[in-house]
Amino acid sequence: MDYKAITRNRFVRFVSARLVLTALTAFFVAIVVFFAIRSIPGDPALAVLGVDSTLEERNALRETMGLDAPVAVQFARWIGDALHGQFGYSYTQGRPVVDIIGPALGNTLLLGGAASALAIVLALVMGNLATTRWRPLRRVVDGVEAFFLSAPQYTVALVLLIAFAVVLPIFPAGGLVTRGDGSPADLAAHLVLPAIALALAPGAQMARSLKTSISTLQATELLPTLRARGLSPWRLSVHAHHNALPPMITVLGIQVGSMLGGALFVENIFSIPGLGALVVQSVTLRDYTLVQAVALLIALIFVVVLLAADVLNALLDPRIRVGRA
């Protein structure tokens, strides 16, 4: 009996099931985004051409925009185009949407990546500290954790901006790079404050998850048993963390969504040209093609990250592949 093949099969089956769910969710998201934008009152052609345009001009533009076709057809066309990488044309910026989204996506991913890394470090530190034997330290960590969890990201961002860029001008107050200096150090300096602002809540949430799994682990006999095998402290720590990490990974996946939402505000406050700033911009300017594409992209990123977290979880924890024990 080739057991290895069977295990691989279970994993494959797990991943496929998740993929299907992801695709369904993505489809649902696309529908919501599309119809939400479509139902905004007002005439996009009017918004673009202005009040002193003629009816013919507006009709002509509507035809170019494809707004004359029935809604279902518009949706199908949009999906079809999107799958080919065509996201339409932004009428307020005069460029294809892909050209606008590309760099913005890169910046947001950079910020998100930095924030995620920070969040993981924060979670590991706080999670381990929270299980210490020294009671006062535990209380302090719990309090800090509660604070991080409930403080809204935009308020934290503002406070950080004021504290460390205005009052104490340690970090730059905005933007992604200083003019003329594109070095990694400069980039990092610009990313520090916004990344911290984004990382606090997810970090605290992950710390909580880690704390719970460590406690659960300590309630079993596993750790004393492993110690009785005479394993070195390093190996014991690896075992313990391996057991405690999988739930935290799932939390990280969910928290990416919260980070994406928070990026909306943080990018605005720190003037970082990312997807969040783009959303705000396009909403204010009523550029529907842009809003649509960006909203879809953000939601898709989130869904894909969730899938990745689930898959990573299944890789780490062999019990998950079998389903509920």
Binding site: I37, S39, L149, P152, S258, G261, F265
Partner: protein, 298 residues
């Protein structure tokens, strides 16, 4: 009372102590930090409700000659905003708006979520899976994004803001309700009630709802904090209540211009939003601890 009805009454009476929701006992069991938070909240709400009769200038009266005055200026203890309006007054009335936008959606979402969750929890596997998968997909959607989209679609204004936010929070409440109902559905006293012939209505009313209500309400209280934060966020990017109506988020937006010149002015609305976002979860978590009778300390 005949033997049969006595037996039935005895079986229907809730067996777990947590079902007896004695409010007086509950408040005294709250941990200290939750009691402090609750007191502060009550004070804040009282202050906000009393705002119209307090001797403060109108939040709409702005004098461009007195823009961006710092703290402790003459007649303006918290300074003025970018249009010369008194900050203290703006904050008080803005908090009122934010509280409405914060609490109302949770009330709506809790009611709907409770219904959905309870139905899903009691129903058969098929209905349960259908409902909860739908809830999961909704849950997967980033809350901020969803409320953003809804706010755009429905247009600006307090009513549509409340509606948009309500939809966002139905999913978490439904999840909690379903978990709780599933947990107690198979407990002995419910099964006993079912087998003694009690109708679904009686079971629902006497056994299930009173038991899950405290936990759901405690959770909902914490959600108010997060909702206030999101409402403020929407106001921050201009999708909240339209100006000149004061709202904490839009006030924050307006004060961004003061960040470099007079940062303390910008901090005033920050402090209020922070306070609201943190006080509600403190109370909610405390309620949860008091109900379950277990501490958080590991």
């Amino acid at each position: 009372m005949t033997g049969a009805t006595a037996a039935r009454a005895a079986v229907i009476a809730p067996a777990t102590p947590s079902a007896r929701f004695r409010r007086r006992g509950l408040i005294t069991r709250l941990p200290l930090r939750s009691r402090i938070a609750l007191t502060l909240l009550v004070l804040l709400v009282a202050l906000v409700l009393a705002a119209p009769v307090l001797p403060i200038p109108s939040p709409f009266a702005g004098d461009l000659g007195t823009r961006l005055l710092p703290f402790l200026s003459e007649g303006h203890p918290l300074g003025t905003d970018s249009q010369g309006r008194d900050m203290l007054s703006r904050l008080l009335f803005g908090t009122r708006t934010s509280l409405i936008a914060g609490v109302m959606p949770i009330v709506i979402a809790t009611t709907l979520g409770l219904v959905i969750g309870t139905v899903a929890g009691l129903a058969g596997r098929v209905v349960n899976t259908l409902l909860m998968r739908g809830v999961d997909i909704m849950f997967a959607f980033p809350g901020v994004l969803l409320s953003l989209l809804l706010a755009i679609t429905l247009g600006v204004g307090l009513g549509t803001l409340i509606l948009a936010l309500s939809l966002v929070w139905i999913a978490p409440v439904a999840r909690i309700a379903e978990t709780e109902v599933s947990r107690i559905r198979d407990l002995d006293y419910v099964t006993a009630a079912r087998s003694s012939g009690a109708g679904y209505g009686a079971i629902l009313g006497r056994q299930i709802v009173p038991v899950i209500l405290p936990a759901v309400l405690a959770y909902a209280t914490s959600l108010v904090g997060a909702n206030v934060a999101i409402a403020g966020g929407l106001g921050f990017i201009g999708l909240g209540v339209p100006s000149p109506e004061p709202e904490l988020g839009s006030i924050l937006q307006e004060m961004q211009v003061a960040v470099f010149s007079n940062p303390s002015l910008a901090l005033a609305p920050v402090v209020v939003i922070l306070a609201l976002s943190m006080l509600f979860p403190l109370v909610g978590d405390g309620l949860r601890e008091a109900i379950s009778g277990r501490g958080q300390d590991s």
